[in-house]
């Protein structure tokens, strides 16, 4: 009995060691590829930066850009320096290339027809995709919620914040559902929950807008009926049509 247990433990230990021995070189190769390519990236970036600085790349580009241009390369550059943008782009291309090479090398050294690698490696790419989805979704949610908030405030809607929050959560819920679907977690439960949540938010927003706009529409109708008799509009002053009550204001 004792011998059998000892034998089983030894075999288990042996399998663990075999897996570890086949796993570690792959990790080493991955790290080596990333480190080497990062070092190469730094070298190339430094060379590009020096070359572009010597050639007065920033000044030449600035001279070519128009004064009224709403967006230029320097606007998108860190510290408004296209040279810095180019050098950093080179660095990151090298780092990403290192990661890609490292993963393929890791895959080659570790595959060994093991079920784990067949499952884990494709899943890692799914995880990466899901993370990117979440990142992009949260950025989009923030952008859209701000757009809605500012637009609603400028339209003088009382429920601006509520509307903005609604849009934000709408996008976040959609993103989360997409990420979970991408990871193949939850299956139909996620789809069902997403449908209920998404529909609920849309219904809530519709009700809010409908109920809120009821007063807005009635006020607008009241004003359009009362205005001609009570306060004649001075057409020679060219009033701002969006500012109906402030008929005499000229912003431009």
């Amino acid at each position: 009995m004792g011998q059998q247990i000892e034998s089983a433990l030894r075999q288990s230990m042996h399998r663990v060691l075999v897996v570890l021995v086949s796993f570690l070189p792959g990790v080493m190769v991955f790290l080596l590829a990333v480190v080497l390519l990062t070092a190469l990236g730094h070298l190339l970036a430094a060379m590009a930066k020096r070359l572009l600085t010597t050639a007065h790349f920033d000044e030449r580009l600035a001279a070519k850009e128009t004064s009224g241009s709403p967006a230029s390369l320097s606007d998108w550059s860190p510290s408004h320096s296209p040279t810095l943008l180019v050098s950093r782009a080179i660095l990151w291309v090298c780092i990403l290339a290192g990661i890609a090479i490292g993963i393929s090398a890791f895959d080659a050294s570790y595959s060994a027809n093991s079920q784990l690698s067949q499952f884990l490696l494709p899943y890692l790419t799914h995880v990466l995709g899901a993370v990117l989805l979440l990142l992009f979704g949260s950025l989009l949610a923030r952008f859209l919620s701000r757009t809605v908030l500012i637009g609603a405030v400028n339209a003088q809607l009382q429920y601006a914040r509520f509307l903005s929050l609604g849009v934000k959560w709408l996008v976040l819920v959609l993103t989360a559902a997409m990420a979970l679907d991408h990871l193949q977690i939850g299956g139909t439960i996620v789809e069902l929950a997403f449908g209920i949540l998404f529909g609920g938010i849309v219904l809530t927003l519709s009700l809010a807008i409908g109920l809120g706009s009821r007063d807005l529409v009635s006020r607008s109708i009241e004003k359009s009926i009362e205005k001609p008799a009570a306060r004649p509009v001075d057409t020679s002053a060219f009033p701002d049509a969006s500012e109906a009550p402030r008929s005499k204001l000229r912003h431009f």
Binding site: T66, S67, R146, L149, I150, R161, R246, L249, R250, F252
Partner: protein
């Protein structure tokens, strides 16, 4: 009659240039927008009356249909614009208007160019004469009209464009985005050199000629032009128009940072006065109440966005403003000046998306309008006083933007 002048050229040099320009027989170029045949005939008669001794060229947009019907005379000749340089009527002169006019001026060797905007027929002959004479006599490289307007007119200019131009570029012109303008050959060369609308993406890019003149040390003069019919913007949405105009101005300020950051002698600032408690008319009070309520709504909802742009001191000031009843509603000029400067800086630093930033400025601008309505109480003199007080606050607070531009992190909330 000139009503404001900022001379960047030495007087002797200016008078020498004056004599040189006025004595030559170079023609006067008058650039008109799209006009009917009757309006064109009217303008021809008035140009002939205003400048009997001088040859004049009149340029009209090709598609107006009036150019073909116009007949040439001894002194006045019709010329065509370069293709697509002059569009339909607008509420202000655009970069294309200036570019087309400057190209024509250089091509025909015009001594002075008079660019007129929509509804130019409503401009008096004396105003046309004064504008052109200021340039022809060499008194100015750029003559900008100042129309007789009411206390509720040109509010964006009064709140933003005039104070910023005066404080940063040292030129006291009340309509930096004019509807008409006159400029010299030197200015035409400058415009032709700087303006390349082919590379811009905006449908109607604006050109800040006053700032251009200031940075190139050209003389600018403001001319009293009397009453004029002001055309209505095609896009009547205040938010989009305000975003377009302030975005263009902020970009120009960003571009010319090295100029306005240098210590310069500016127009003497009028000291800020104590808060005046004017009583607005009952109709206006209703408007003010509504605008104050809108500001309170904006303050409640936009605090998160404003806090990314404004320092705590300004946020506290806005909080106080939001709690004041409509009868006493006022955005103090110094608070308004610092707020606008903070927005200019945030635009430069791209603290948040530029569209969002300019959209978040609209409620603050409307709060200033409410203050202006309350302070002016329908009176021209009180309105002018409030505008000057606002402009003076921008001059006084200029060191704030200079310091924040150089060391933005020092003041970060």
């Amino acid at each position: 009659m000139p009503i404001a002048e900022v001379t960047n050229t030495a007087p002797q040099q200016a008078s020498a240039v004056a004599g040189e320009q006025y004595n030559t027989g170079s023609p006067l170029l008058v650039c008109l927008p799209w006009v009917t045949a009757d309006s064109l005939q009217n303008m021809r008669t008035r140009v002939a009356t205003a400048f009997p001794e001088r040859a004049a060229l009149i340029a009209v947009a090709e598609n107006s249909g009036a150019a073909s019907q116009a007949q040439a005379s001894d002194n006045i000749r019709m010329v065509d614009y370069p293709a697509t340089s002059r569009g339909q009527v607008g509420w202000a002169l655009t970069a294309n208007d200036y570019l087309g006019a400057s190209q024509l001026a250089l091509e025909h060797g015009a001594a002075a160019t008079l660019v007129l905007g929509a509804e130019a027929v409503s401009l008096s002959t004396e105003a046309l004469q004064r504008l052109a004479e200021a340039v022809l006599r060499g008194e100015a490289d750029l003559a900008i009209p100042r129309y007789t307007m009411g206390p509720q007119d040109a509010l964006v200019s009064s709140a933003l464009l005039y104070p910023l131009t005066r404080a940063l570029f040292g030129i006291s012109v009340h309509l930096p985005l004019p509807l008409d303008a006159a400029f010299s050959t030197r200015m035409a060369k400058r415009i032709a050199a700087i303006n390349r609308p082919a590379n811009t993406t905006a449908s109607e890019p604006l050109l800040w000629t006053v700032a251009e003149a200031a940075t190139t040390l050209l003389t600018v003069r403001e001319i009293d032009a009397g009453k004029r019919t002001l055309p209505r913007p095609v896009d009547i949405d205040l938010n989009s128009l305000l975003t377009e105009v302030t975005g263009s101005l902020f970009s120009d300020i960003e571009l010319k940072a090295s100029f306005w950051q240098r210590a310069r002698a500016t127009v003497p600032a009028k000291p800020a006065t104590q808060s005046v408690h004017s009583t607005a008319e009952s109709g206006q009070l209703e408007d003010i109440r509504e605008m104050a309520e809108a500001f309170r709504n904006a303050y409640t909802n936009l605090q998160d966005i404003w806090s990314l742009v404004l320092p705590p001191q300004s946020l506290l000031g806005l909080k106080k403003v939001s709690r004041v009843p409509a009868e006493d509603f006022e955005v103090p000029p110094d608070l308004w000046a610092r707020t606008v400067y903070d927005f200019v800086l945030a635009y430069h630093l791209r603290t948040i998306n530029r569209g969002h930033l300019l959209g978040a400025l609209t409620p603050l601008y409307l709060a200033w309008v409410a203050s202006h309505l309350r302070r002016s109480a329908g009176d021209d003199a009180l309105a002018a006083s409030h505008v000057e007080e606002t402009a003076a606050a921008f001059v006084t607070e200029k060191p704030y933007i200079v310091a924040r531009w150089r060391w933005p992190d020092r003041f970060n909330p």
